[in-house]
Symmetry: C2
Subunit: 304 residues, 2 copies
Amino acid sequence: MGRGRDPALIAVDWGTSSLRLYLMSADGAVLEAREAAEGIMNVAAGDFAGTLTRRLAGWPADALPILMCGMIGSRQGWREVPYLDCPVAPADLGRALAAVESGRGRGIWILPGLRWRDGAGVPDVMRGEEAQLLGALADPGAGADMDCCLPGTHSKHVRIAAGRILSFSSHMTGEVFALLTRQGIIGRLMPGGLMALDADAFAAGIRRAAAPGGLLHQIFGARTLPLMEELPPPAIGDYLSGILIGHELRATRWHGEVRVMAGTELAARYVRAFEALGIPARAMPADLAARGLWLVARRAGILA
Amino acid sequence: MGRGRDPALIAVDWGTSSLRLYLMSADGAVLEAREAAEGIMNVAAGDFAGTLTRRLAGWPADALPILMCGMIGSRQGWREVPYLDCPVAPADLGRALAAVESGRGRGIWILPGLRWRDGAGVPDVMRGEEAQLLGALADPGAGADMDCCLPGTHSKHVRIAAGRILSFSSHMTGEVFALLTRQGIIGRLMPGGLMALDADAFAAGIRRAAAPGGLLHQIFGARTLPLMEELPPPAIGDYLSGILIGHELRATRWHGEVRVMAGTELAARYVRAFEALGIPARAMPADLAARGLWLVARRAGILA
């Protein structure tokens, strides 16, 4: 193993509900990855330093710089890092790293999140997704102009132009789906447990989203169709998911092939939805956040 | 007190979460009204007969017919009454009363709910609102052609033409608002307790619903604006409510003045929203369900 494969960075994606750590080499390879359900909302008494130390056990952490992204940089996190306003170039992010006072020999830094104001002045924000975007920009197939879709609890649609993150919008698709199916009346008819995607029901939901009547009306069909025994209970979730994702994707104007960044299953679902709308899309590789953090660290000159 | 003012009917609006009872005279006046949080979901062991008997205490119930509407006629209710398919005339509803086996001297009947299929064949349903519509049709100012809006957990938009209930659509506005504010991330920043309407925030939400970006994106503004201290926490609920009601009302094509039927406060909120959209609207009097049930009972010849 040459010098390039020695550990040179610990990259950390610390969100609201989960903590992901990557031990990375000087040439940007992920040597080991760890994941824990210790999002910032689950860290007792704000003991971020203690939590991090425990999760780094066995890694040569004392000799390595640590670069973090995500909600760890929010008001509820370790240190609040001001948002950078879009448009933002990768180099802007590298220059805006915020150091955390930790007393360690090697430093800990947090990548700032991004803010964008639409034509009406309404702000939108992201924390963590910007690291994935930096990773995507470094992808061999990336262009200077790209549309990205980052599905999730609060999906992000991102426009990249001339190599800069130009603008973005958040969509509460994942949260609304979870609320409707776990707490709402639609969930009462749904069977529990994970199921394979019902592609027909999902496609029917996407088509439904193109009809008149509006989202608030259409989702009621996920209640009435099963009531009339015209949609089997195991298909309710995918029908509803199709309506919501259909509305989400139709709300944005897309240019060219869309890069979809999410876990395998969710990314495949979104690629399927894009295809149903006649929009080319492809899923990006995993660990893009780690890749993006490594790029920033290298540019900032903090790699070990 | 003449014959007309003697009790002649007990009208019952028995929904999912509440039970409303009206002691009515032969000329259609409400002599006494009662309300309890004993919706069909809260009736233990399906003891509808026992619950009803307790709530009727002190009324001359044995001598009076009982006519009910609402979820009491659903699969989870006392007796499942098949839906009538729209278009439906008031006389159709009167002919379709379903008798409940009760052993009482005077009968108990349930009014059927309504079903409508849109152009795509997707079914929509109501149970209980049809009684209010019958009441509205008998209003002195009613025309044979009318648009009605019945706000609530699942708002109904109803088109009445040539005196018949022609079509309708349900909108999950109230449920989505409750889920987002009670269980979702938006609610975390909201203060508890009831507050007076913030008319400016509500109007801003309604305007926002007319912008591009879609509902799932726009509601995220109820999170980011307070985060940036550009919307005070007590205004979050009304801003969100404006976005949701704005989307709801814009999804339907309205003709002429809209009749709004709900409790005083909710009706006033919807009238305000219609006015913001330039659509004439007025709130209808309360107790329309009782009025509608009385009209059906009189037509069916079951008044005492």
